[in-house]
């Protein structure tokens, strides 16, 4: 047996709870985020469905039919509605369903036993969702500028994209809760059970102003309603003046769902 000298490998300059410096963490986060985006882009079932659904909604409702929306410019409304459909879909399916699948296949377990801080893995998924939000919104804006009648300035477009990216956070957290709580086999079905009613009840598919008053009050409790109102405000198309209310509701949803997600994850981890 050869003789080796004991040289601890962990005497690097310390750096944080996991022993990484901030630069190292950011480098890992960048690599993980890039791979998450590449992974989803190369997955036709994911990228095509996530991109095509909002495009179809916008082209049909906003360009071809130009369905009227009370008190709001229809083309602007449908642009925001379609990008919100994409944003919520990416967050719930790209984040939530994939966590459930990774759990089922053992990939999350392999990540957990590796030195990677697991929150980096989840953050990378959130960045992936944000990138897809930006991509979908940019595509829709491009279509609206070419084929539709929307007139948006550069600043409005930028604010809309950034708003949609940050509005994805509460839905990513909802995805985290579901991804850690439900099995891989049932994740898709359960996410659909939440996704489609949420789109309807928050007035994305059918404009909220058409709802009877009692249904309008339901919408006020949903994060999707507030994200749509915030996105409409971003392009000056909302009648709502409560921007801070929308932001506050979305922040509260993000924090509460993150807390629940962490609890569910810890419970899963401490088996």
């Amino acid at each position: 047996m050869p003789i080796y000298t004991y040289l601890p490998t962990l005497n690097m300059t310390t750096k944080g709870a996991m022993g990484y410096s901030l630069v190292q963490l950011l480098r890992i986060l960048y690599t993980e985020s890039k791979l998450e985006v590449i992974k989803c882009l190369r997955l036709p079932a994911f990228s095509s469905s996530i991109l095509s659904f909002p495009l179809i909604v916008y082209i049909v409702c906003g360009v071809l039919i130009d369905i009227d929306v009370q008190e709001i410019r229809a083309d602007h409304y449908w642009l925001v509605a379609a990008s919100s459909i994409g944003m919520i879909g990416t967050s719930l399916f790209g984040f939530g369903v994939y966590i459930a699948i990774e759990r089922g296949q053992g990939w999350l377990l392999l990540k957990r036993v590796s030195p990677l801080p697991v929150y980096i893995h989840f953050l990378a998924k959130a960045f992936m969702a944000m990138v897809f939000c930006a991509l979908i919104t940019s595509l829709l804006v491009g279509i609206s500028l070419i084929f539709g009648s929307a007139d948006l300035g550069i600043q409005q477009i930028f604010v809309l994209i950034v708003t949609q990216m940050f509005c994805s956070l509460p839905f990513c957290m909802l995805g985290l809760v579901m991804g850690c709580a439900v099995s891989a086999n049932s994740a898709h079905a359960i996410v659909n059970l939440i996704y489609l009613p949420m789109l309807f009840l928050s007035g994305i598919i059918v404009p909220y102003t058409y709802f009877p008053p009692w249904l309008q009050s339901v919408a006020h409790y949903l994060p999707s309603f507030h994200s749509v109102q915030l996105a409409l405000s971003a392009i000056d198309a909302s009648n709502s003046v409560n921007i801070f209310l929308h932001i506050s509701v979305l922040i509260v949803y993000t924090i509460v769902l993150l807390g629940i997600g962490v609890m569910v994850y810890k419970k899963m981890e401490n088996v």
């Binding site: 000298t5 004991y6 490998t9 791979l35 997955l43 089922g104 392999l110």
Partner: protein, 306 residues
């Protein structure tokens, strides 16, 4: 190629004390205790459901013990400092399908402070030429090699392998063992769970046999073979079987036609004795005791005792 990892000489790298693991009402491991020394190749054997994979998951920090203590590399199992020095190859059914071999390896390499170079990982895991292939395009054996690559890419001083060669062809399996030997020669410690007795014969320097959540044997392969399996010596000799049975280490003697068959737990001295007493001895054939023989014998006895 610099593969050297650093482990304390003769130090205990794994210490498991009175560990119990329960899932609801089912006891998967029942007050298990053992130690693994640095540089050892500890092979876990046992029938399905005996607790081997549960133990590997506990050692890797993927599960928490219901009772008892686990120390891995002087830290608790799953401690960040431990995870940076260990590599884990689990029986997993899926890795992201659309990423390439190179992307997976580089992603895992980025988690470690001093990872092996990309070329070293590719060489050790025999994935040369497959770097640009997506995971979905790999064969089952190639996928297994990638799982091994992900386990070793951090230059670990301790590796947990769950049935590492289960999907490999004969040649790949031999190559894998060669790479394990190479890593072990560089002071890497292994804990391997396997059902493959050839693998156990080749790799083990320390064997732990599990049965229904308990350790029924903890020792060297030699201990296992010496205590639970007999080697067999067949020969054509004029020596009297009644004299042969009196030899030390001879447990049983059979006479079948011209052939005398001796069941022994020590071969060399017995053969030497036979040849010195009867130089005309012919048709000498020796079948050494195997881990498989000993394991089956041990398991049968344990079940009988229960």
């Amino acid at each position: 190629m610099n593969l050297e990892t650093h482990s304390p000489i003769d130090s205990v790298v794994i210490r498991v004390s009175d560990v119990t693991k329960r899932f609801s009402n089912q006891v998967a491991l029942d007050r298990v205790s053992f130690e693994v020394k640095a540089g050892a190749n500890c092979v876990l054997l046992g029938p399905n459901g005996a607790g081997k994979s549960t133990l590997l998951n506990l050692l890797a920090g993927a599960l928490q013990p219901s009772a008892g203590q686990i120390s891995v590399l002087n830290n608790s199992a799953g401690h960040p400092a431990t995870r940076r020095q260990t590599g884990v190859m689990l029986q997993i059914s899926g890795v992201p399908q659309t990423l390439t071999v190179a992307e997976h390896i580089n992603s895992f390499r980025s988690y470690y402070v001093q990872p092996l170079s990309f070329t070293e990982v590719i060489q050790l895991s025999q994935l040369g030429g497959l770097e640009k292939k997506k995971y979905s395009a790999l064969s089952v054996g190639q996928k297994q090699k990638l799982h091994f690559a992900l386990a070793i890419c951090g230059r670990p001083s301790l590796l947990f392998l769950d049935e590492p060669s289960s999907s490999l062809d004969v040649q790949s399996r031999l190559q894998l063992w060669e790479q394990i030997d190479k890593l072990r020669a560089n002071s890497c410690t292994f804990v391997v769970s396997t059902h493959d007795f050839q693998e156990a014969e080749h790799l083990a320097s320390h064997v732990i046999v599990f049965h229904e959540g308990n350790i029924i044997l903890n020792g060297t392969p030699e201990d296992l073979r010496a205590n639970f399996a007999d080697s067999r010596i067949s020969c054509d000799t004029s020596l009297d079987p009644r004299e042969l049975i009196k030899l030390p280490h001879v447990k049983r003697v059979e006479k079948i036609g011209n052939l005398t068959r001796l069941f022994v737990n020590e071969v060399e001295n017995t053969v030497r004795h036979i040849l010195s007493e009867d130089s005309s001895t012919s048709q000498l054939e020796i079948k050494c005791a195997t881990i498989e023989d000993a394991y089956l014998h041990l398991l049968t006895h344990t079940e009988h005792d229960n």
